[in-house]
Amino acid sequence: MTTIEYVQVSFEAITSNKLRSTLTTLGVTIGTTAIVLLISISTGASREVTKLVEGLGSNLYLVTPTRPKAAALTGVATVSRLQAQDADLLQKETALRVVVSPVLNNPAPVRYAREVKSGVMVSGALPNFQDARNWHVVQGTFIKKHDGDLARRVVVLGQTVHTGFFKDGDSVGKEITIAGEKFKVIGVMEAKGQLFDIDLDNQVFIPLSTAQRLFGTTALSYIVVGVATADDVPAAMAEAKRILSKRMTPDQFEVRSQGETLQTVQSISLIFTAMLGSVAGVSLLVGGIGIMNIMIVSVTERTREIGLRKALGAREPDVLAQFLSEAILLSFMGGCFGMIFSYLGALGISRAYPTFAVSVSPFAVVLSLGFSVAVGTFFGAYPAYRAAGLDPIEALRHE
């Protein structure tokens, strides 16, 4: 008997009892759905983490005033104890080769001609920001030292602001209005992309001194410190904590690298993984037992058929293969239903959280279909073995 014949015979047997077969596959359906969603969500999460790492860069760390974690990256101005002296102290006392760059963030309305964008992040920065943050201009120039010395009203646009205002892509030399004051555009930053829900490119840079005057504060939002290599980051962070403790108590500031953010994201996705993983495991187990149960019933119901097939020349491996392939096909069908549901599930998640791109990966599909086949094989083995071992005469006599 060829494989195709086994599949055909199994398919006929399965479809002759549609409701029963569908109910039997339910466990495997849920299990495989969970597997695919599990992988899709965790790859989605790790993609976010990758973006995060790319967005932040691995060879830098941030000093922020203590505040809720989520706000740390956005730099929403709160009462901050962090001052320019802290940055100076850090730069002066460090034994390592680092670039210390203080930043003052404040959201403000930005206007060009008739168009107004509110909530644009206005960052007061020093010339060394480019190197510290590893974020560079693609057009024009970044803020120069004398721009800061003279507290000039010059601005470097993030990509979103640039493309939003200047459809022709020609912004350098134009004038825009920030918080009611006119600024001259001197450059455009390279695109940095999304960080979770935050568009990093919806940001403009002005000299730190200008920002301090404009917003009437000297408190910093954060200090970004560029380190020579990623390996030096832990040492540099320890050093920063030590140096800054001279001016502040440890609970007034935080020193964090992207590694910690990464951990947070990873621990969240780990919880997800554990949850869906146990759902998958339990459903596959229950599904497998269901398949075993229905296969035992099926073997009993078809005892005479088995006897007949044996009388007509079926060998034990033939019967074994027939019932095993039926169990596998049943489980595989559950897997296929699971693929449909997980596709719909991924679609639903993507709809609900547009920034969290969940896509069903081919790897996940192959893996969970593989699982469904494995479950069918494992739990179908015993019923098939029982069928194969039946005595033909007694089987034929079975009522």
Partner: protein
Amino acid sequence: MMVRAKDLIKTYRLEGLEVPALRGLSFSVEAGAFIAIMGPSGCGKSTLLNLLGCLDRPTSGTLEIEGVDTSKMNRTDLAILRSRQIGFVFQTFHLLTRATALSNVMLPFVYSDFPKAQRRDRAMKLLRYVGLQDRMRHRPNQMSGGQQQRVAIARSLANDPQLLLADEPTGNLDSRSGLEIMALLERLNREGKTIIMVTHSRELAEHADRIVHLLDGVVLRDEVVAERRSATAQLGEQLA
């Protein structure tokens, strides 16, 4: 010699109790013979037929089918032998209820090396042979008992075996349908098949050329039928 059985003993074990079904039975069947096996209920007719059909192995003794000793064969070899050399006809037909007549006849091909491309043609030819050219797409529950038994006979011929074993093939049929089945068996016998049939009816047994009488698991008497009945002729008379 188609079948040569020597000192066949078959003992069933039932809850520690030994139930002797055959107690040293010997007999042989020439190729092309039509044998009827008779005897009271429980004398071992079905047991003997199951051994001849290689569905079971004797407890002791030898059984040769077409010159090959089957008493020591393993189960796989017995299965192969069944598929190639033996055709079964059962009292209760044993057709697959969900399958059409055609599919039922094609079932044995699945377990033999019969060329795929020729299976359907061969099955259709066999159904025509048993007179069911109009019933190929019918399922067993859409056919009379006699028609079902004819499908079963067509199925038994699928792999062109030389030996046909029939355990009370007409036991579940009315006399006319039974006679039609007998006519079919007679015709197959004329065309060269060796047939061994178990029956309780003296009348039906007289269609064979030999009657083997069993009693308590041994051959009581081996009788050559002096005046063979012909089902074909009887059916002709009934029509006239």
